[in-house]
Symmetry: C2
Subunit: 166 residues, 2 copies
Amino acid sequence: MEEEPLSKDWLIGFIEGEGNFNVALSNKKDNPNYPFDIYPMLQFRIFLREDDLNALNKIREFLGVGRIYKKKTEYNRRMGFRAKDQYVYCISHSKELLKLKEIITPTTFHTKKAKDREIFFKILDLKVNKKHLTLEGNEQIINLAKMMNSGMRENFKIKLNNGQKS
Amino acid sequence: MEEEPLSKDWLIGFIEGEGNFNVALSNKKDNPNYPFDIYPMLQFRIFLREDDLNALNKIREFLGVGRIYKKKTEYNRRMGFRAKDQYVYCISHSKELLKLKEIITPTTFHTKKAKDREIFFKILDLKVNKKHLTLEGNEQIINLAKMMNSGMRENFKIKLNNGQKS
């Protein structure tokens, strides 16, 4: 039973529940040649517990892109949090994200995650067209990222404080 | 776009992400005529943030059963936790849970939630057949509930300590 393949609708429903469209605004030290302080990194992720690794494998197989890795939980444990082992399915390369876009954007999203999806792929298009290398495009991306529904806004504040010179 | 109806596969995928099959083992004071200390209460729930109330409405419409109510967050807030307003879609009546069973059990689940679903509906069948009123059936239900994947086991311990006389 469990080895039946996924359907696209199942995947969309699952992504609306568990998918995470993340725009990390990192400071430029990871990218020495990049002209601005803030570099937008796009990651589409699904975190699942260790015993659901099989589901992540099926998702990767269905989408044909992305990587699966084990999430490091040692830090959380040292800090006294109970943390179950987790695996992460992650797509971060632009080419692979374009493939994801091609598969999931023609389909209706029923939750507010529709907004995150829209902004995420708008930022992807800007990056693919090298707009993040212009001041105007960089600002546009940061402003788009601020409008995302996810935990982004908090994240954004922290990263900005670390990353800005002023 | 957002007003398009759900598909069943979407709903299954979403339930695998966000659905919660809960067996609460309450002590009998809520049910004065019940012969045992522990009464198994079944709840299928989906919690979503206030701005996704529309998605919950669509789900209720699709399944044709269940209720939506606002989750009380005052307590969490008083305790200093940041708590966003949430709505809960909940099915708890046996007749309505049988309807849910009819809709979602013939379909493959791809995650470990398959196990929770199986046990949940096994307990439902026992209750529908009045087995929870026999000592043997009651014990069987408690043992099944212990095997669930969800946060159940923790919950179970607390409830047992409160509910048992010994």
